[in-house]
Amino acid sequence: MSEAAPQLSVDSATGIDVTLPLAGAGARSYAFVVDWHVRVVLGLAWYGAAGLLYNYLRDGGLSVAPPSDNEPRWFGAVLVPALALYFLYHPVLELIMRGSTPGKRLAGVRVVTRDGGAPSAGALLVRNVFRLVDSLPLAYGLGLTLVALTREHVRCGDMAAGTLLVYESSSAALAVTPASTAGALDVASAELIAELLTRWPLLTAPARAALARTLLGRCGRSAEELAQLDETALRQALIEATRPQGEAR
């Protein structure tokens, strides 16, 4: 028997807890690797394009090599933006995308507070500042160790910021479409039929037959057709009416 995945459970006003499955080291690493590639590509793309343009405008050459002297314009237009793209990618994007990044979105995870809400700007910044600690001694060694060892799969930055990484289901995962349920019962009828089938043995024969005919009439069966069905056939017809016409799992 497999152990249930750890999840975040939050009380709600409706009495139905909010539960979110917690992401582990795999989802975290996947998101990080995607984000790392994105920021490397973005940084290099900026460096390449801006460097090429800079050198072309400067002396007509097609090169990305830095000028021999420390030119402030090259520094400000080429190098600093490229480094900013690389180093500020996580804090800025998490702020703008409310605890998400392209990598996290691809991995189907997002950062939330311990009550399931979006983290504050302060929390997101603290979470990212502590990357300095999590990345020690190298390759996020401490962070990954903590994720593997802690019950909630959190790294040091998450502990400091009070955040968790949770899975987020998208509507694409919902394998139900209106087409697959077309022609089926409406909710009220389905609930009534379920109730009637549950109480079938408790009701008198005339009462359950009358109720069955009324409910099957709502499902489009004609009165003449229903009048010819005996009690057993009526019950069978009720069961048939509840069968889905196309179904997800």
């Binding site: 139905i16 500042v129 394998a175």
Partner: protein, 328 residues
């Protein structure tokens, strides 16, 4: 058989409501992103919340291992967060940070700041006394190039602009200062010991170098170099040290809460100040690159810039840069 048929009927009826869930998700997303603030729509989000709670309870019972349940859990959590935490607007979030969170953190950090400043000043005094008494110890604190320059009767800061332009210098300095400041904070994670080390070491170095240049008659020149950017730079160093010390104390003495809960509370409360520190260090780096090494700028102007920027820092950290909420 009847019970199974009933469950099947309910499950099927439940799945028919998927379009309603998708509408609820889209509505919640519009509210969260601040694209809608219509009261009627808000009321519908509240209705969605009840509908989703009802359907989720059913789905947990009838379809416990289905994607529909997973999706419902996610949408329900999303609507719950929207109703309980409101929409997310970057501008409002940052305004709240600077207007409320940073001033509140500063009040809480005041005792830590006093201790961190005391430690820094004592370390600086110790460094000064040490090198003043034993000049040869400067080799422990300063690079050979710096020592050689001072022995030639010149500050290493002279002609700095001939080596690198102001913009290059500024970026190098501010990046270095921000990293040191963040490390001073993060190293509080080592039960505060890392923070104490960084504060103490920086204080010792500052005092030692001042003592050494003073012995060579360059103390005034170094002070005039430092005054424009140093007031804020050194204050920020003490501030990030104070934040790190608060984190360290929470780990060492968590009180009635658990150690992790205390650490989280301290890191969150003190962490807000780091945003202000980073912003202030960008300004200090620009001053250090453009103003401090420029011999054409008079000392009086440098002092005015240093004091003015320090007063700006006080206003920023105390929240006085923004008018009170009610007066707008």
């Amino acid at each position: 058989m009847s019970a199974d048929a009933g469950r099947s009927a309910l499950a099927h009826a439940l799945l028919k409501r998927a379009p309603l869930w998708q509408e609820a998700e889209a509505r919640a997303r519009r509210f969260r992103s601040g694209r809608s603030d219509d009261p009627a729509e808000a009321a519908r989000v509240a209705d969605d919340y009840r509908l989703l709670a009802h359907d989720l309870a059913r789905a947990r019972l009838l379809l416990p291992r289905s994607r529909a349940r997973e999706y419902l859990e996610s949408v329900y959590a999303s609507v719950h967060a929207t109703l309980n935490h409101g929409g997310w607007r970057l501008g409002a979030t940052l305004e709240k940070l600077f207007r409320e969170e940073i001033p509140a953190s500063m009040v809480w950090l005041a005792p830590y700041l006093a201790w961190a400043t005391t430690l820094f000043v004592l370390a600086a005094a110790a460094g000064y006394a040490l090198v003043d008494r034993f000049p040869e110890l400067i080799a422990l604190f300063a690079s050979p190039d710096l020592i050689a320059s001072v022995e030639r009767g010149k500050l290493w800061t002279e002609g700095l602009l001939n080596i690198a332009p102001s913009s290059v210098l500024s970026v190098q300095i501010l990046a270095n200062n921000i990293v040191v400041s963040l490390f001073a904070y993060c190293s509080g994670f080592l039960f505060g010991l890392g923070t104490l080390y960084i504060l103490g070491l920086n204080g010792l170095m500052l005092g030692a170098i001042f003592a050494y240049v003073a012995q060579h008659g360059l103390g005034g020149a170094l002070a005039s170099f430092i005054v424009a950017h140093g007031c804020v730079e050194l204050s920020v160093m003490c501030l990030s040290g104070a934040a790190g010390a608060a984190v360290g104390e929470a780990l060492m003495r968590p009180g009635s809460r658990g150690r992790i809960a205390a650490f989280r509370a301290a890191a969150l409360r003190s962490g807000a100040v780091l945003v202000a520190c980073a912003v202030l260090l960008v300004g200090a780096g620009l001053i250090e690159g453009f103003v401090s090494p420029d011999p054409r700028i008079a000392l009086g102007i440098k002092i005015a810039i240093g004091v003015g920027y320090w007063l700006f820092m006080l206003a920023l950290l105390s929240g006085r840069l923004w008018p009170p909420q009610g007066s707008r």
